[in-house]
Symmetry: C2
Subunit: 211 residues, 2 copies
Protein backbone atom coordinates (compact mmCIF):
# COMPACT_ATOMS: atom_id res chain seq x y z
CA UNK A 1 0.00 0.00 0.00
CA UNK A 2 0.94 3.59 -0.47
CA UNK A 3 0.27 4.27 3.17
CA UNK A 4 2.97 1.95 4.46
CA UNK A 5 5.48 3.21 1.97
CA UNK A 6 4.88 6.74 3.16
CA UNK A 7 5.30 5.62 6.74
CA UNK A 8 8.61 4.07 5.85
CA UNK A 9 9.87 7.19 4.12
CA UNK A 10 8.74 9.11 7.14
CA UNK A 11 10.76 6.91 9.47
CA UNK A 12 13.78 7.12 7.21
CA UNK A 13 13.51 10.88 7.16
CA UNK A 14 13.19 10.97 10.93
CA UNK A 15 16.27 8.85 11.39
CA UNK A 16 18.15 10.97 8.88
CA UNK A 17 17.46 14.17 10.76
CA UNK A 18 18.26 12.40 14.00
CA UNK A 19 21.68 11.56 12.59
CA UNK A 20 22.13 15.09 11.26
CA UNK A 21 21.34 16.58 14.64
CA UNK A 22 23.88 14.40 16.42
CA UNK A 23 26.49 14.86 13.70
CA UNK A 24 26.04 18.62 13.65
CA UNK A 25 26.76 18.91 17.34
CA UNK A 26 29.88 16.76 17.01
CA UNK A 27 31.13 18.61 13.95
CA UNK A 28 30.85 21.85 15.85
CA UNK A 29 32.31 20.55 19.11
CA UNK A 30 35.20 18.58 17.66
CA UNK A 31 35.52 19.84 14.10
CA UNK A 32 34.67 17.95 10.92
CA UNK A 33 37.92 16.06 10.33
CA UNK A 34 38.33 15.34 14.01
CA UNK A 35 34.91 13.69 14.15
CA UNK A 36 35.07 10.08 12.99
CA UNK A 37 32.20 8.01 11.68
CA UNK A 38 32.67 5.97 14.83
CA UNK A 39 32.08 9.05 16.95
CA UNK A 40 28.82 9.77 15.15
CA UNK A 41 27.85 6.12 15.43
CA UNK A 42 28.43 6.18 19.17
CA UNK A 43 26.23 9.23 19.48
CA UNK A 44 23.52 7.49 17.44
CA UNK A 45 23.80 4.09 19.12
CA UNK A 46 24.57 2.28 15.90
CA UNK A 47 27.47 1.08 13.80
CA UNK A 48 29.41 3.32 11.37
CA UNK A 49 28.59 1.24 8.30
CA UNK A 50 24.91 1.94 8.84
CA UNK A 51 25.26 5.54 7.73
CA UNK A 52 26.03 4.48 4.20
CA UNK A 53 22.41 3.39 3.87
CA UNK A 54 21.35 7.00 4.35
CA UNK A 55 24.23 9.08 3.02
CA UNK A 56 26.65 8.69 0.16
CA UNK A 57 29.68 9.43 2.33
CA UNK A 58 30.90 11.58 5.19
CA UNK A 59 30.96 14.78 3.15
CA UNK A 60 27.31 14.17 2.34
CA UNK A 61 26.45 14.23 6.05
CA UNK A 62 28.28 17.52 6.49
CA UNK A 63 26.48 18.96 3.48
CA UNK A 64 23.07 18.03 4.84
CA UNK A 65 23.92 19.52 8.22
CA UNK A 66 25.01 22.82 6.73
CA UNK A 67 22.17 22.92 4.23
CA UNK A 68 19.61 22.34 6.92
CA UNK A 69 20.89 25.12 9.16
CA UNK A 70 21.33 27.57 6.31
CA UNK A 71 17.90 26.79 4.90
CA UNK A 72 16.25 27.36 8.25
CA UNK A 73 18.14 30.62 8.70
CA UNK A 74 16.94 31.86 5.33
CA UNK A 75 13.41 30.64 5.96
CA UNK A 76 13.28 32.56 9.22
CA UNK A 77 13.43 35.86 7.32
CA UNK A 78 11.77 34.87 4.06
CA UNK A 79 8.46 36.49 5.01
CA UNK A 80 10.07 39.92 4.80
CA UNK A 81 10.08 39.79 1.02
CA UNK A 82 6.28 39.69 0.85
CA UNK A 83 5.43 42.64 3.07
CA UNK A 84 7.12 45.34 1.09
CA UNK A 85 4.81 47.99 2.52
CA UNK A 86 5.85 47.57 6.14
CA UNK A 87 8.09 50.20 7.69
CA UNK A 88 11.71 49.20 6.85
CA UNK A 89 12.79 50.02 10.38
CA UNK A 90 10.35 47.45 11.70
CA UNK A 91 11.52 45.03 9.03
CA UNK A 92 15.07 45.40 10.27
CA UNK A 93 13.88 44.79 13.80
CA UNK A 94 12.00 41.70 12.65
CA UNK A 95 14.94 40.40 10.70
CA UNK A 96 17.30 40.62 13.63
CA UNK A 97 14.77 39.16 16.04
CA UNK A 98 13.97 36.27 13.71
CA UNK A 99 17.47 35.32 12.69
CA UNK A 100 19.09 35.76 16.06
CA UNK A 101 16.12 34.03 17.67
CA UNK A 102 16.65 31.07 15.38
CA UNK A 103 20.37 30.87 16.06
CA UNK A 104 19.81 31.07 19.79
CA UNK A 105 17.18 28.36 19.61
CA UNK A 106 19.67 25.76 18.37
CA UNK A 107 20.58 23.57 21.30
CA UNK A 108 24.27 23.73 20.61
CA UNK A 109 25.82 26.66 18.90
CA UNK A 110 26.59 24.47 15.93
CA UNK A 111 26.14 27.44 13.65
CA UNK A 112 29.74 28.23 12.99
CA UNK A 113 30.13 24.90 11.26
CA UNK A 114 28.27 26.55 8.38
CA UNK A 115 31.16 28.95 8.06
CA UNK A 116 34.10 26.74 8.79
CA UNK A 117 32.78 23.60 7.14
CA UNK A 118 32.20 25.22 3.77
CA UNK A 119 35.70 24.43 2.58
CA UNK A 120 35.21 20.70 3.07
CA UNK A 121 32.25 20.58 0.72
CA UNK A 122 32.39 19.55 -2.91
CA UNK A 123 32.08 22.30 -5.51
CA UNK A 124 28.45 21.48 -6.24
CA UNK A 125 27.43 21.34 -2.63
CA UNK A 126 29.26 24.55 -1.87
CA UNK A 127 27.51 26.28 -4.75
CA UNK A 128 24.15 25.25 -3.36
CA UNK A 129 24.96 26.70 0.08
CA UNK A 130 26.18 29.91 -1.49
CA UNK A 131 22.94 30.10 -3.44
CA UNK A 132 21.00 29.95 -0.18
CA UNK A 133 23.20 32.59 1.39
CA UNK A 134 22.70 34.87 -1.55
CA UNK A 135 18.97 34.72 -0.94
CA UNK A 136 19.59 35.80 2.64
CA UNK A 137 21.84 38.64 1.55
CA UNK A 138 19.44 39.85 -1.09
CA UNK A 139 16.59 40.07 1.42
CA UNK A 140 18.77 41.99 3.85
CA UNK A 141 19.95 44.28 1.08
CA UNK A 142 16.39 44.94 -0.07
CA UNK A 143 15.33 45.90 3.45
CA UNK A 144 18.24 48.31 3.73
CA UNK A 145 17.65 49.71 0.26
CA UNK A 146 13.97 50.28 0.95
CA UNK A 147 14.94 52.01 4.17
CA UNK A 148 17.29 54.29 2.27
CA UNK A 149 14.70 55.05 -0.41
CA UNK A 150 12.16 55.93 2.26
CA UNK A 151 14.65 58.19 4.02
CA UNK A 152 14.99 56.14 7.18
CA UNK A 153 18.50 54.89 6.61
CA UNK A 154 21.60 56.64 5.41
CA UNK A 155 24.60 54.57 4.50
CA UNK A 156 27.20 54.89 1.82
CA UNK A 157 27.34 51.22 0.99
CA UNK A 158 24.43 48.81 1.15
CA UNK A 159 26.59 45.72 0.77
CA UNK A 160 29.00 46.59 3.55
CA UNK A 161 26.14 47.65 5.79
CA UNK A 162 24.64 44.24 5.17
CA UNK A 163 27.90 42.54 6.10
CA UNK A 164 28.16 44.49 9.32
CA UNK A 165 24.61 43.73 10.40
CA UNK A 166 24.91 40.07 9.48
CA UNK A 167 28.20 39.92 11.39
CA UNK A 168 26.72 40.96 14.69
CA UNK A 169 23.88 38.47 14.29
CA UNK A 170 25.88 35.46 13.15
CA UNK A 171 28.78 35.99 15.51
CA UNK A 172 26.40 35.94 18.47
CA UNK A 173 26.77 32.18 18.41
CA UNK A 174 30.30 32.64 19.67
CA UNK A 175 29.40 34.51 22.82
CA UNK A 176 25.68 34.26 23.48
CA UNK A 177 24.39 31.63 25.85
CA UNK A 178 20.85 30.88 26.91
CA UNK A 179 22.09 30.39 30.43
CA UNK A 180 23.73 33.79 30.46
CA UNK A 181 22.75 37.05 32.07
CA UNK A 182 20.58 38.31 29.23
CA UNK A 183 17.53 36.84 27.52
CA UNK A 184 17.09 36.39 23.79
CA UNK A 185 14.70 39.32 23.64
CA UNK A 186 17.01 41.59 25.57
CA UNK A 187 19.94 40.83 23.30
CA UNK A 188 17.68 41.18 20.27
CA UNK A 189 16.77 44.68 21.37
CA UNK A 190 20.36 45.67 22.02
CA UNK A 191 21.37 44.34 18.63
CA UNK A 192 18.60 46.14 16.84
CA UNK A 193 19.30 49.42 18.59
CA UNK A 194 22.96 49.15 17.70
CA UNK A 195 22.33 48.23 14.07
CA UNK A 196 19.52 50.71 13.54
CA UNK A 197 21.41 53.64 14.99
CA UNK A 198 24.40 52.52 13.00
CA UNK A 199 22.68 53.11 9.69
CA UNK A 200 19.81 55.45 10.46
CA UNK A 201 19.49 58.78 8.75
CA UNK A 202 20.22 61.96 10.66
CA UNK A 203 17.20 63.47 12.33
CA UNK A 204 17.88 66.60 10.32
CA UNK A 205 17.05 64.54 7.25
CA UNK A 206 13.65 63.11 8.15
CA UNK A 207 11.80 60.33 6.31
CA UNK A 208 9.96 61.37 3.20
CA UNK A 209 7.00 59.15 3.86
CA UNK A 210 5.49 56.94 6.52
CA UNK A 211 4.21 53.36 6.44
Amino acid sequence: MIRTKQRKEMQTSIKKSWILEKAGVLFWQKGYHNTSMKDIANACNCRPANFYNYFKNKEDILYEVIRSITEQGVSSILYLEKDQEINPVEQLRSLIKSHFGFLASLKQSNVMISDTGMKYLSREHRKEIIRLRDIYDSILHKVIQRGIDAGYFATTDVKVAGYLIASIIVRSSVWFSMKGRLSVDEVSDIMFNFAYRGIKADDANPPKRNA
Copy 2:
Protein backbone atom coordinates in the same frame (compact mmCIF):
# COMPACT_ATOMS: atom_id res chain seq x y z
CA MET B 1 81.37 31.88 20.85
CA ILE B 2 78.36 33.81 21.98
CA ARG B 3 78.19 35.52 18.64
CA THR B 4 77.78 32.31 16.67
CA LYS B 5 75.30 30.94 19.14
CA GLN B 6 73.24 34.08 18.79
CA ARG B 7 73.37 33.87 15.04
CA LYS B 8 72.25 30.30 15.25
CA GLU B 9 69.35 31.15 17.55
CA MET B 10 68.50 33.92 15.17
CA GLN B 11 68.38 31.52 12.26
CA THR B 12 66.34 29.09 14.31
CA SER B 13 63.86 31.80 15.19
CA ILE B 14 63.62 32.89 11.57
CA LYS B 15 62.95 29.37 10.42
CA LYS B 16 60.39 28.94 13.19
CA SER B 17 58.36 31.93 12.09
CA TRP B 18 58.75 30.86 8.49
CA ILE B 19 57.16 27.54 9.40
CA LEU B 20 54.43 29.27 11.41
CA GLU B 21 53.55 31.50 8.50
CA LYS B 22 53.25 28.61 6.08
CA ALA B 23 51.39 26.44 8.57
CA GLY B 24 48.96 29.22 9.46
CA VAL B 25 47.92 29.66 5.86
CA LEU B 26 47.39 25.92 5.42
CA PHE B 27 45.48 25.56 8.69
CA TRP B 28 43.11 28.26 7.54
CA GLN B 29 42.79 27.05 3.97
CA LYS B 30 42.39 23.34 4.69
CA GLY B 31 41.59 23.16 8.39
CA TYR B 32 43.85 21.91 11.16
CA HIS B 33 43.12 18.20 11.04
CA ASN B 34 42.99 18.19 7.27
CA THR B 35 46.49 19.63 7.08
CA SER B 36 49.13 16.95 7.40
CA MET B 37 52.69 17.42 8.51
CA LYS B 38 53.59 16.42 4.97
CA ASP B 39 51.52 19.31 3.61
CA ILE B 40 53.36 21.76 5.83
CA ALA B 41 56.65 20.16 4.87
CA ASN B 42 55.88 20.59 1.18
CA ALA B 43 55.10 24.25 1.76
CA CYS B 44 58.38 24.66 3.66
CA ASN B 45 60.54 22.63 1.27
CA CYS B 46 61.60 20.22 3.96
CA ARG B 47 60.69 16.86 5.47
CA PRO B 48 58.05 16.28 8.19
CA ALA B 49 60.54 14.91 10.70
CA ASN B 50 62.32 18.23 10.59
CA PHE B 51 59.59 20.04 12.50
CA TYR B 52 60.28 18.04 15.62
CA ASN B 53 63.52 19.92 15.99
CA TYR B 54 61.52 23.11 16.44
CA PHE B 55 58.18 22.07 17.94
CA LYS B 56 57.08 19.46 20.43
CA ASN B 57 54.29 18.23 18.17
CA LYS B 58 51.62 19.35 15.73
CA GLU B 59 49.43 20.94 18.39
CA ASP B 60 52.40 23.02 19.40
CA ILE B 61 52.59 24.48 15.89
CA LEU B 62 48.92 25.37 15.97
CA TYR B 63 49.37 26.99 19.36
CA GLU B 64 52.24 29.15 18.18
CA VAL B 65 50.26 30.19 15.10
CA ILE B 66 47.25 31.26 17.13
CA ARG B 67 49.33 32.87 19.85
CA SER B 68 51.27 34.91 17.34
CA ILE B 69 48.15 36.25 15.60
CA THR B 70 46.34 36.94 18.85
CA GLU B 71 49.35 38.62 20.36
CA GLN B 72 49.77 40.88 17.36
CA GLY B 73 46.07 41.73 17.42
CA VAL B 74 46.28 42.72 21.05
CA SER B 75 49.51 44.61 20.52
CA SER B 76 47.91 46.63 17.75
CA ILE B 77 45.57 48.28 20.26
CA LEU B 78 47.72 48.17 23.39
CA TYR B 79 48.72 51.80 23.11
CA LEU B 80 45.16 52.85 23.85
CA GLU B 81 45.57 51.96 27.50
CA LYS B 82 48.26 54.59 28.00
CA ASP B 83 46.53 57.60 26.50
CA GLN B 84 43.61 57.72 28.84
CA GLU B 85 43.12 61.43 28.19
CA ILE B 86 42.41 61.16 24.49
CA ASN B 87 38.84 61.59 23.32
CA PRO B 88 37.16 58.16 23.61
CA VAL B 89 35.51 58.65 20.23
CA GLU B 90 38.93 58.98 18.64
CA GLN B 91 40.11 55.99 20.62
CA LEU B 92 37.31 53.93 19.18
CA ARG B 93 38.24 55.11 15.72
CA SER B 94 41.87 54.20 16.37
CA LEU B 95 40.96 50.81 17.74
CA ILE B 96 38.91 49.86 14.71
CA LYS B 97 41.50 51.24 12.31
CA SER B 98 44.34 49.42 14.05
CA HIS B 99 42.73 46.07 14.53
CA PHE B 100 40.99 45.89 11.17
CA GLY B 101 44.12 47.21 9.53
CA PHE B 102 46.13 44.43 11.10
CA LEU B 103 43.66 41.74 10.06
CA ALA B 104 43.56 43.06 6.51
CA SER B 105 47.35 43.15 6.37
CA LEU B 106 47.67 39.40 6.82
CA LYS B 107 48.37 37.89 3.42
CA GLN B 108 45.77 35.22 3.80
CA SER B 109 42.79 35.72 5.98
CA ASN B 110 44.11 33.10 8.34
CA VAL B 111 42.47 34.87 11.23
CA MET B 112 39.50 32.64 11.70
CA ILE B 113 41.84 29.82 12.68
CA SER B 114 42.17 31.67 15.97
CA ASP B 115 38.47 31.09 16.53
CA THR B 116 38.01 27.65 15.12
CA GLY B 117 41.35 26.21 16.16
CA MET B 118 40.90 26.99 19.84
CA LYS B 119 39.21 23.67 20.49
CA TYR B 120 42.20 21.69 19.29
CA LEU B 121 44.52 23.26 21.83
CA SER B 122 45.50 21.72 25.13
CA ARG B 123 43.94 23.18 28.25
CA GLU B 124 47.04 25.15 29.17
CA HIS B 125 47.52 26.57 25.71
CA ARG B 126 43.86 27.48 25.46
CA LYS B 127 44.04 29.28 28.77
CA GLU B 128 46.94 31.35 27.54
CA ILE B 129 45.04 32.42 24.42
CA ILE B 130 42.00 33.32 26.48
CA ARG B 131 44.25 35.40 28.72
CA LEU B 132 45.39 37.38 25.69
CA ARG B 133 41.84 37.83 24.48
CA ASP B 134 40.77 39.07 27.87
CA ILE B 135 43.36 41.81 27.57
CA TYR B 136 41.84 42.79 24.24
CA ASP B 137 38.34 42.79 25.68
CA SER B 138 39.32 44.79 28.72
CA ILE B 139 40.89 47.51 26.58
CA LEU B 140 37.81 47.68 24.40
CA HIS B 141 35.58 47.77 27.47
CA LYS B 142 37.64 50.54 29.03
CA VAL B 143 37.37 52.66 25.91
CA ILE B 144 33.61 52.21 25.85
CA GLN B 145 33.30 52.84 29.58
CA ARG B 146 35.35 56.01 29.34
CA GLY B 147 33.14 57.11 26.48
CA ILE B 148 30.07 56.53 28.60
CA ASP B 149 31.52 58.34 31.60
CA ALA B 150 32.40 61.30 29.42
CA GLY B 151 28.90 61.36 27.96
CA TYR B 152 29.87 60.42 24.42
CA PHE B 153 28.41 56.94 24.40
CA ALA B 154 25.13 55.63 25.65
CA THR B 155 24.64 51.92 25.85
CA THR B 156 22.89 49.72 28.31
CA ASP B 157 25.50 47.01 28.35
CA VAL B 158 29.23 47.55 27.93
CA LYS B 159 30.02 43.86 27.47
CA VAL B 160 27.49 43.29 24.71
CA ALA B 161 28.50 46.52 23.01
CA GLY B 162 32.05 45.21 23.06
CA TYR B 163 30.97 41.92 21.50
CA LEU B 164 29.07 43.71 18.74
CA ILE B 165 31.96 45.98 17.86
CA ALA B 166 34.48 43.16 17.97
CA SER B 167 32.16 41.08 15.78
CA ILE B 168 32.13 43.52 12.91
CA ILE B 169 35.91 43.84 13.03
CA VAL B 170 36.81 40.17 13.34
CA ARG B 171 34.22 38.92 10.88
CA SER B 172 35.62 41.20 8.21
CA SER B 173 38.10 38.44 7.45
CA VAL B 174 35.20 36.47 6.01
CA TRP B 175 34.19 39.02 3.41
CA PHE B 176 36.87 41.66 3.04
CA SER B 177 39.43 41.36 0.30
CA MET B 178 42.31 43.62 -0.58
CA LYS B 179 41.47 43.12 -4.22
CA GLY B 180 37.89 44.22 -3.68
CA ARG B 181 36.08 47.42 -4.51
CA LEU B 182 36.94 49.22 -1.25
CA SER B 183 40.24 50.09 0.37
CA VAL B 184 41.21 49.33 3.95
CA ASP B 185 40.75 52.96 4.92
CA GLU B 186 37.35 53.19 3.30
CA VAL B 187 36.09 50.11 5.10
CA SER B 188 37.66 51.34 8.32
CA ASP B 189 35.67 54.54 8.06
CA ILE B 190 32.42 52.74 7.31
CA MET B 191 33.00 50.41 10.26
CA PHE B 192 33.77 53.25 12.61
CA ASN B 193 30.76 55.28 11.52
CA PHE B 194 28.53 52.28 12.00
CA ALA B 195 29.94 51.38 15.41
CA TYR B 196 30.13 54.92 16.70
CA ARG B 197 26.59 55.81 15.70
CA GLY B 198 25.53 52.48 17.14
CA ILE B 199 26.57 53.42 20.65
CA LYS B 200 26.79 57.19 20.65
CA ALA B 201 24.74 59.25 23.04
CA ASP B 202 21.76 61.21 21.74
CA ASP B 203 22.58 64.73 20.73
CA ALA B 204 20.04 65.88 23.29
CA ASN B 205 22.41 64.50 25.90
CA PRO B 206 25.68 66.18 25.02
CA PRO B 207 29.12 65.32 26.38
CA LYS B 208 29.92 66.73 29.80
CA ARG B 209 33.50 67.51 28.93
CA ASN B 210 35.88 67.72 26.03
CA ALA B 211 39.35 66.33 25.42
